[in-house]
């Protein structure tokens, strides 16, 4: 592991951990505005996390060791995955870090543990959440892999860090087909972060909840870890969309000024994307669960179109 990569890892991890709660609150704020409310402060998620850390952890009498290790497994899988997506600065990847398939499967690893912990307490809510989460993730998976294959196709690389490097060097979208991929990536972002029309992050109603159902039995610092890993996952997918489509301003050297500028730009671009997500969520209604596959088919269509365009171009 080179010194450059170590530095990259530290900067990237710090950025992602610190900025993720902000984006979560931003989306909430936008949704509140669109509903005519004032909404919570943009720093509310930080306060919530700090509060949760001070609370005791409550385990169910039925819960096994799965419940106890899940928060750790989730946060470490997501943090390792965060190394795969450069937020503000790019560098030379080391030992296959940045591999697009590994990135996807680290997210699956976190999901696997989360779904098991949903079943662990023996509550029907958790089971329902796990069941729906695994079903949705199974149906969206072909789309995700085709989107990633299309990305690999366009950038001629399997490595996310390399892709972002290429994009940063170009400064503009490297291929017009990327816009099509962007649409699919946006749908994947909505699905993976459990947002309307797939899931509703605000409610704890059994009819709508998926992600919230699974973490219903989590409490205290464990819940804080789960919330943080969900926030980081959202930031990673946002960063993927931002840094591949509108990469300008990304730092290519480890100079303090360049990184500071890149961070400000990333926060600004992220805020805009959060605005889009919030407006998108507000303008949609929750879809019936079994109507979801047709939404996924749309994303599948766009990514397949990209591939066909690239193949026959």
């Amino acid at each position: 592991m080179t010194a450059d990569f170590l530095l990259y890892g530290v900067i990237n991890t710090l950025c992602v951990v610190l900025i993720s709660p902000l984006f979560v609150s931003l989306v909430k704020k936008v949704k509140a505005w669109s509903q005519g409310r004032q909404g919570p402060s943009v720093f509310q998620t930080y306060y919530t996390l700090a509060k949760l850390l001070k609370k005791e952890v409550i385990y169910s009498r039925n819960a096994s060791w799965i419940m106890r290790i899940t928060p750790w497994a989730c946060i470490s899988a997501i943090l390792v995955a965060s190394l795969f997506v450069p937020l503000v600065v790019v560098t030379e990847p080391v030992g296959g870090i940045g591999n697009i398939i590994l990135f996807l499967y680290l997210l699956v690893l976190a999901r696997f543990f989360m779904a098991l912990s949903g079943l662990d307490a023996g509550s029907a809510f958790g089971g329902m959440g796990s069941s729906r989460e695994m079903s949705i993730s199974a149906v969206i998976e072909p789309t995700t892999i085709i989107v990633f294959a299309a990305l690999a196709f366009v950038f001629k690389s399997l490595n996310l860090i390399d892709m972002v490097t290429v994009a940063a060097a170009a400064g503009i979208p490297v291929s017009p087909t990327l816009i099509l991929i962007g649409i699919s990536l946006f749908i994947i972002l909505i699905v993976e972060t459990s947002r309307i029309p797939v899931d509703n992050p605000e409610t704890h109603l059994e009819l709508t909840m998926i992600h919230e159902g699974m973490i219903l039995e989590q409490s205290g610092r464990n819940l804080a870890l789960m919330e943080l890993s969900a926030a980081i996952k959202q930031t990673l997918l946002m960063a993927l969309l931002i840094n591949l489509l509108i990469p300008w301003g990304l730092a290519t050297t480890f100079s303090f000024a360049a990184i500071a500028v890149a961070l400000c730009l990333f926060a600004a671009k992220g805020a805009i994307l959060a605005l889009v997500i919030g407006l998108f969520e507000s303008s949609m209604s929750k879809m019936r669960f079994f109507r979801l596959p047709s939404l996924f088919m749309m994303a599948f269509f766009f990514s397949t179109l990209t591939i066909i365009i690239e193949v026959f171009a």
Partner: protein
């Protein structure tokens, strides 16, 4: 040295069989243990022997045995054969250790001794198939394997279910032998020799070579459980004792994979369409296998369907290998072949691990229905950890071995951009999407399996009274679990050591990073977070306590997927209702039924079986038992012979 080792292995296996024979008269534990120790020792030696050949890369040819004139048993072990021998040896050794504990809890008195002897013979025969140098000895041991495995499946022959499964297996496995035999005959006519050696097709012999390939392919596919020839797996695996299921699913299916690979690599020079055929059947088996597995609530039946899925994945690798080598992409072809081989080994390890731990669970709860389990992680903590390792490996999650081999397959798929033919490229991308679906569904399947069996509260009195199993039943699976972890984490280093430097990520680095991140989080939380822990009830909307009947069951868990893929399951929902009033408001009574259509059985197997029955009924009419008719037959035959001779003269 190697020669001595080879004969020692054979002698030890035979000793394992012979020892157990006198024990059939008396029910003695020492004989069983001794016989299984022989099997374990011989398997271990086999693994060592094959590892030596694998590392040195020097093929080994033991002296041939002339059994009787015209039939000699020749052996030849190159790196490919050595790889599969390693697979057989390492898995069988762990299964034999497990069986030492398992067999003592089994029903059946002194029949158990025979079981131990048969297991020893079974492993030996599989090893000899792989080591065979000519088609005759290949076929001889192939048939012996079919016979021995039939006895193993029929162990609990007193049960109706087992007898049905056994007969089904017997018919299917002999269908497989028939096709392999026909294939070998066609191969003999094409090449003029029984040796498994390169065959150069000329325009004249091309149809014969193609026929030989197709016949062999069908034969091996039946044995490997490729859809639509898969139906025997979900019958035979649940019916046989768990160590036997582990051996059959983990090892025997791989012998069929070996057969296919051996003929494709050594003998034939494949065409592109062969690759497309293998790929298409492989991907169909993978997707359908896992979709059926999700529906299954018999824990061993589920594992059997999951075997079909994994064999499908291996066939996908083989198909890609053929396609890439026909397209002249040598690097990608090597990558796909290695992925197929690596996945064979990985599947052998984690599937036998899962079958063995499932056997422990079935032994503890006396049921195979996962709806009646639940809450076992507290009662069987070690077994739960072992099963969990297997589940992570089979769900292809990093950094375990299942992920390592699927990663190689994904990389091969992603790089199929370099294939020239655009149509082929589109086909490969469709297969990629289906492959991803398979992998995600298999994660869902094993969340369901582990969740229903080990988590939450026990859902039956049997599960309530379950207890941890004895030491050998933990030791065998523990070795397999350790192998799963090591082969995953060090996949890159191991492949590099064998001289294959592949563009795959270093999973050791990833595992290290996972540990570092967990440690960093721990340090941060140690100083910032509260350390209080309280144990309490699960929240149940205000109810004081929740019975286990409120839990989410396996059926409930897979319901959304079953509904989404209902057109594949072909579930038939029918209901009848009667009402008290004429406006159909007050419900009086009714029936509702959800039935799973056994698609392949009802539309493929049964029509063939009925056709065969009809044809044989027609032929049987000749045999009417009347002397006059037989005299007439003789007369007609004589006249026909006279006419024929007159004609030909």
């Amino acid at each position: 040295m190697i020669g001595l080792l080879f004969y020692a292995v054979i002698a030890l296996f035979l000793a394992g069989t012979v020892i157990s024979l006198p024990g059939t008269a008396r029910d003695t534990r020492i004989i069983r243990t001794l016989s299984l120790a022989c099997t374990a020792g011989a398997s271990l030696l086999l693994a060592v022997l094959s590892l030596i050949i694998l590392v040195s890369g020097v093929p080994f040819t033991p002296a041939a045995w002339q059994l009787f004139p015209g039939f000699s048993v020749d052996f030849f072990i190159d790196r490919l054969a050595a790889f599969f021998l390693f697979l057989i040896g390492s898995v069988s050794a762990c299964v034999a250790i497990y069986t030492m504990g398992y067999v003592e809890h089994m029903e059946g008195g002194n029949r158990r001794n025979l079981l131990c002897g048969c297991i020893s013979l079974f492993v030996l025969v599989m090893a000899l198939i792989v080591a065979s140098e000519n088609t005759i000895s290949f076929l001889f041991f192939w048939e012996l394997m079919a016979a021995v495995s039939f006895f193993l499946v029929m162990y609990e022959y007193t049960q109706e279910e087992t007898r049905k499964a056994g007969i089904f297996y017997f018919v299917m496995t002999h269908l497989s032998t028939l096709f392999v035999m026909l294939g070998i005959i066609a191969f003999y006519y094409a090449s003029g020799s029984f040796a498994i050696a390169p065959l150069h097709a000329t325009p004249v012999s091309l149809p014969l070579v193609t026929a030989a390939f197709l016949l062999l392919f069908v034969g091996f596919s039946i044995k490997a459980g490729i859809i639509p020839f898969h139906k025997w797996l979900p019958y035979a695996h649940p019916a046989s004792p768990s160590p036997v299921s582990a051996l059959m699913s983990g090892v025997m299916l791989k012998v069929a994979v070996y057969g296919l690979l051996r003929f494709i690599i050594t003998v034939f020079s494949p065409d592109l369409w062969w690759g497309v055929l293998i790929l298409a059947l492989g991907i169909a088996s993978a997707v359908l296998g896992v979709i059926y597995a999700l529906k299954e609530h018999d824990i061993k039946g589920m594992l059997a369907y999951s075997s079909i899925e994994n064999i499908g994945i291996i066939f996908v690798g083989i198909g890609l290998f053929v396609i890439f080598s026909c397209s002249g992409l040598a690097v990608l072809a090597t990558l796909s072949l290695l992925a197929a081989l690596f996945h064979s080994l990985n599947h052998a390890l984690f599937k036998s691990l899962l079958f063995l731990t499932a056997g422990s669970v079935v032994h503890a709860t006396h049921t195979r229905d996962i709806e009646k389990m639940g809450g076992l992680s507290g009662k069987m903590p070690y077994t739960s950890v072992l099963f969990f390792t297997g589940a992570i490996a089979i769900a292809a999650l990093p950094p375990l071995n299942g992920f390592a081999s699927e990663l190689m397959m994904y990389i091969a798929f992603f790089q199929s951009v370099t294939v020239v033919d655009p149509l082929l490229k589109v086909l490969l991308f469709i297969c990629l999407a289906l492959f991803a679906l398979t992998s995600a569904l298999s994660a869902a399947c094993f969340v369901k399996a582990f969740g229903s069996v080990f988590l939450a509260q026990p859902r039956s009195p049997e599960s309530e009274g379950a207890h941890e199993v004895n030491f050998p039943m933990l030791a065998g699976p523990a070795i397999l679990a350790a192998a799963c972890v090591i082969l995953g984490v060090f996949a890159y280093q191991i492949l590099t050591a064998f001289g294959y430097v592949l563009p795959i990520p270093d999973l050791f680095l990833v595992s290290l990073l996972l540990l570092i991140m967990a440690a960093l989080t721990y340090v941060v939380l140690y100083f910032t977070a509260s350390h209080d822990i309280r144990i309490s009830e699960t929240w149940g909307c205000g109810a004081k306590s929740q019975p286990s009947s409120t839990e989410y069951t396996g059926h409930g868990f897979s319901e959304p997927i079953v509904t989404i893929f209902s057109s594949i399951y072909r579930t038939k929902k029918s209901s009848t209702k009667t009402y008290y009033d004429q406006h159909d408001c007050i419900f009086a009574e009714g029936t509702a039924e959800i039935r799973l259509l056994k698609f392949f059985e009802e539309y493929l197997y049964l029509p063939i079986a009925r056709g065969a029955t009809r044809a044989s009924a027609r032929i049987a009419r000749i045999q009417n038992g009347c002397l006059d008719t037989y005299l007439l037959y003789v007369f007609i035959a004589v006249v026909a012979v006279i006419l024929f001779l007159g004609w030909s003269a």
